[in-house]
Each structure stands twice: as C-alpha cells, then as structure tokens.
Amino acid sequence: MASMKSDHDVLIIGSGASGGMAAYMLAKAGVKVLMLDAGPSVDWDKKRSMKAVWDLPYRGFNQPGRFPHVTQASEFDANMWIEEEKHPYSHPDDDPYYWVRIRMIGGKMNRWGRASWRLSNYEFKAKDHDGFGDNWPISLEDIAPFYKRVEPLFRVSGRNEGIPQLPDGNLIMDESRDSLCVQRFIDSAKKLGVPTTKARRATGTLASSLNLLLPDALATGNLKIVPDAIVREITTDPNTGLANGVHFVDRRNRREYNIPAKIIVLGASTLESTRLLLNSKSPRHPNGLGNSSGVLGHYLFDQIYVKNTVTAVVPEAKAGKAPRGLMGGGGYIVRFRNLKEKQAKFLRGYTYDFYSGHGPQPGQISAYGAEFYRQFRDINGACFGMTTMGEVLARKENHVRINPKLQDAWGIPALHIEHRYTDNEFNMAEDAMNMGMEMAKGAGFEILTAHKEVVPPGESIHELGTCRMGENPKTSVLNKWNQAHDVKNLFVVDGSSFVTGGAQNPTLTILSLTMRASEYMMDQKKKGNL
C-alpha cells in the first residue's frame, strides 16, 4: 500500500446529495474526511453570465445531436451536463434508456427542482400492503427522525395534511392563498376523493450540497475535497476482503493514482456507484465488490413521468380577460390509488404536479397563419397543466451490467442498461390521464390536449435500486444501515440502496438515509467495530 499522504478516517466518493451529507455529518463530528469527485470545482460567478437566446450559436435550439438522452439540457446550460460521447453506455436498440448525468462538485443537486417529499410505509412496507416485491428493512418510524432534521437544513416549505401516504414534515408552513382556478381544481379533486396539497420544496434558488452542506463541512477543517478524481476501482485486502483503498484517475490528464482508505462511503449516484462496484472485482469478490448475493445491478427502477398529461384551459381567463387572482400557482396531488381499494389493472399509485397561468405549446394549436395567432393569444396565460409521476415496480430483470466492449474516455468499462416498463406502468398512466381529465372538467376547465405517453426509463432522473438494502444477505447488497453485507467498511449511501421508491422525488430520502448511516458509522467506529 502506498504511503499515507492524507490522514483521513473516511474516504467519500461523490460530492452530491449523498456524498455531501456524509461529509457534513462526519466532518462536523470531528471525523477526518477526504472526498473525491470526478467533476471539476466550478466558480459559479466566472462560469456563468446572462445572455440573450438570440446571442447563442443555435438560437436556443441546442447543437443538433449533442444530447441524445438529456431532454432537460438547454443551449443555456449545455456545458453543465456530461459530454455523452466521453461517457458512453449501451442499452438494447428497442429499449432506450435516458441516463442524465452531471459531474461537478455538488452533483446533480446543482440543477435539481428541489421537490422534497417523504416516503411513507406504503413504500417502506409495500410488500405487506399488496404482496409484490420486497419490504425495506426499515420503516417510516426508523427514518422519520432524520427527515425531521434534514427538512429544516434544506428549508423545505409545504403544508402538512395529516394523511398517511404523505407523512407530515418539519416544514416552513406555506400559508399562501391559492388562486381561484387552483381552488376550483382542488374542490373538483376533493369530490372524487383525491387529496391535494401545496408543493413541498427546498427554498432558495440553489439549495444544494454545494451551498448547504459542503461549506459547513469544510469550515470544520476536517474535510478535503479533491475535484477531477475519477475513481475507477475500490481495492480490497486479499486476506480480510475489506476495502483498503481506491484507484483514481485525473480527469484532465488521465494520470493514475491510488490512495488507501479505512472506511469508504460511496455516493457517486445510483448507477455510477453500482458500476464502480461491478468494476471492483477481485478473487475474494469475483462478481464485483459486495456481490456475493448476485443481486448487485438488479432491481433497477425509477418513476414514470407523463409530461403535461392534461393541458386544459380556464374559460374565464381567455382573451387575456382573467380577473385578478384567477390564474397562477399550482400544487400537488397525493397518491390516492390502491390505498384502501384495489385497482384491477395496476398495483401502487401515482401523483401529479399541477400548475396554471401559462400558454400553449405551438404544436397544441391546430392552425396556422392569422388563425394560429388568434387561438394562441386567446388562451395564452389561461392554461392549466398536470404532469403525472408514478411508481415503477422493482423487478429483478431490470438491471445493469458491465459491457465488456465499451469503455469511457478514461478506459473505465461502461454500463449496459436494460430497463423496460410493463403493463403495470402503462395502465397506471392511462388511469392518470382519465382521472386528470375528469378533475379538470369537474373544475369547469376545457381540455386542450391529453395523453398517456410515458417518457423513456431514466428520463425522470430518479433512477433507483441496483444495490438494494435488505435483511437477507442472499437477496440484498446492503444492510439496513447502508453498509455492505460482505464488506463492513463500505457504505453505499445514494439512491442505489432503495428497495421501492413510490412516486415521490427521492432526494430527501437519500439525504436522510445518509444522515442515518453516517451516525451509525460513527457509533460503530467508537465501539471499535470498524
């Protein structure tokens, strides 16, 4: 082993939500932490400026073909996302997978939408409820104390409704009044037995690991952050099988390094962490690190998104005649399916974001010329929209594995990703379209367009599973503390540890699990078990 240039107790891989939270917890508790991240450290003042769309080389269209899988990339922020040709992956030709990645200090939270929902026991104990899949080895009661601490840290605002499928939070109460069209919609939903609430969101324009976790961790003097360090392999001691260091490569010049480690926290994001473990083979771990169960890479899932499921028009707002207070704002529809009743065509449930006061997309108007302008102006500002987010069942066959024929620009073997949706997801999307139309009509809105088309797997940017936790080391990779069953000094803290994901955006749960795992790790360290 090389000489110890750095005196760290814990080595963290990744600086996003998960890695950032681990650094925050450990450094503040006096643990010496070294953090490696594959991306650059970005000076936000120097690297960003205001520009007009007409001043961009492609008038806001983006360079053709630059982002085949990142529909979220615009020409304004194109340089923020990874360059896809340097970071290849494969998928079956007829089953596209949209893997959306950002590599820079702070990770994807530098761009996230800040929606922050708790999971409930309908997710943690999903199998108990409907018999499908597996339960988590933890329940809401185990993680609730951590949700309670993370929410104020991220200044999450919203409203508590006291409903079991959406546990109440430790929130900044959102007492804002709803616009009249939103009130009408809420009333219509209520008549159908559908609960609604305010959006729950971290406040502040950024609310990221970058500004809320890493600065405090650095201020302790216990954290060193190393950008541009792509970890290619976690090494292990051939005698004990424990992790003993990492090999990493300088992103800028491909120079190789290694560094010893006593404890490793892996938070490189769901699929990158699993890729790294699969690439870390040794005689003691022939199928990848921590993979004696053979389930590493399996049970990949995310959430279905049906973008703008329904676009409706509020008639009183047409022709720019909306009275003050009619339009604007939105909210969230909480899961309502398969709680007490049982749907014949699908398990689990879905939610919607809804929003109002916008205009139509040009394609939504079936006209051209003067008539196009007339119709466009008539409903501009009068639209009401809904986007569906639904649970995807965790199935073993949806998986990632190493593609032996494909490497990234640094020579690191790349992933092959196979993820297919099934009738469960498609039937759910159809139900969401029909219910959305019914609620909108019940509010007196006119339907402009409605559809049930689900975006390709991955596009929701909520990829989860592949390194899941569980009680049984034969069917899971991690124990209930995010600790590898096979490798006690390895903790995997990102979304790869999820067993189910519901329809709620996952980052609040990733942050809370990491906080919990970090405290357990320190406790175990104190007891001499690590």
């Binding site: 960003r48 001043d55 806001g60 073909g65 394609g363 051209y368 088309e453």
Partner: protein, 194 residues
C-alpha cells in the same frame, strides 16, 4: 430580402453584462473606497463589438434554391408578420433553419427536403389561398403526442414548430418585446467549464 425590418446597430459589451457606464462608475467607487493601485483603464477595456449576423447575410448551404424559396413562402404563410411583431421571414427563421438542418439528423434532413419538394412540385409559390390551404390541411388535424406517421404531415408539424421557435428566439423578435427580461429570452448561460 425586402421584408426585412430595418436593422439596428446591435451592440454588446465584452466580458460583462453590466452596461459600460455603470461598470465604470462601479470601478470608481471601488477606487475611492480602497487605496491604490487603481487599474489603468487600458488594461481592461470593454470594447464595443457588433453581433455578426447584423452585418453579414447568411450564406445558404443546405436547401436548393427552389427548396429555400418554398420554405420562405411557407414561413410567410404559417407565421406572417402581425402588427409590430415581425413574422418568421423578417426574423430570418428560414435562413436559420438552412443552417440548423445542415447539421441535423439524416432522417430529419430527408423529411424536410422531401416535404419542400412536394410543396414546390405542386406549385406552392403561386397557388391561391384555397389551393395552398388544401396542401397545408394536415396542420389542422388535432394534436397527438407522437408525431404523425405520414412523413409529409410530420414535416409540416416540424417546420411549423421550428419556424415558431426560430422566430420567437430571434433578435428581431426580442426587439419588439420592449426589452422585457423573459420576452427578450435572457437567461443564465453556462460557459465551457474547463
């Protein structure tokens, strides 16, 4: 190109989004508040530069002469000028699409050329309103999530959406929005990170 709106002198300042005078004033405040050394103005000049497409006419590469003439005619019919608002032609949306299509995926290129050839073959440039309406009738069918399976109908939908976007994202269009932040399409741009 007689439909073009009169050109203004489009000017931007290098390296700062703050207007030149305000930046100079801000510098002075700093100089007064702190002790020297002041930065000699010549070391950090804010040069006035002109946006290139306000001085040069784009050279067309992708469409044939005939296809481009058809595209311009189509642009004028689909998105004409409207009061103070310049239409697709005055915002040089067809010229932009010639540039953009030259780099686009092969299937899109083929669809565009075939669609324009079909219109041109039907004498689109000289048709009266009723005859051209029948050629454009696929645009009146109801919206669907997936593009139409018929390639010509798909072309029409694409060209309408592309022209619209090229029009509203243009400098000429921004000018008619009275410099409104959203209307003028201002946003945060991420420079190359390395």
């Amino acid at each position: 190109m007689s439909e073009r709106i009169p050109r203004r002198r489009w000017i931007k300042t290098v390296s700062t989004s703050i207007p030149v005078a305000a930046a100079a004033a801000a510098q002075q405040t700093v100089i007064q508040a702190q002790s020297p050394p002041p930065v000699p103005p010549a070391e950090r000049p804010n040069l006035e530069v002109t946006v290139l497409d306000t001085v040069g006419d784009p050279i067309l590469h992708f469409f044939s002469k005939d296809q481009f003439a058809t595209l311009r005619r189509l642009a004028d019919i689909l998105l004409p000028a409207d009061g103070a608002m310049p239409g697709a032609v005055a915002t040089e949306a067809p010229e932009f699409l010639d540039f953009y299509l030259a780099q686009s995926a092969a299937d899109r290129q083929t669809r565009y050329k075939a669609g324009l050839d079909r219109l041109s073959g039907a004498g689109f440039a000289n048709l009266d309103a009723a005859r051209s309406a029948s050629l454009l009738s696929p645009l009146l069918t109801a919206w669907t999530y997936h593009p139409p399976t018929d390639e010509y109908a798909r072309f029409l939908r694409e060209v309408k959406e592309d022209l619209f976007r090229a029009m509203v994202n243009s400098r000429q269009f921004a000018e008619t929005q009275g410099g409104r932040r959203g209307g003028a399409g201002m946003n945060t741009y991420w420079h190359v990170l390395d």
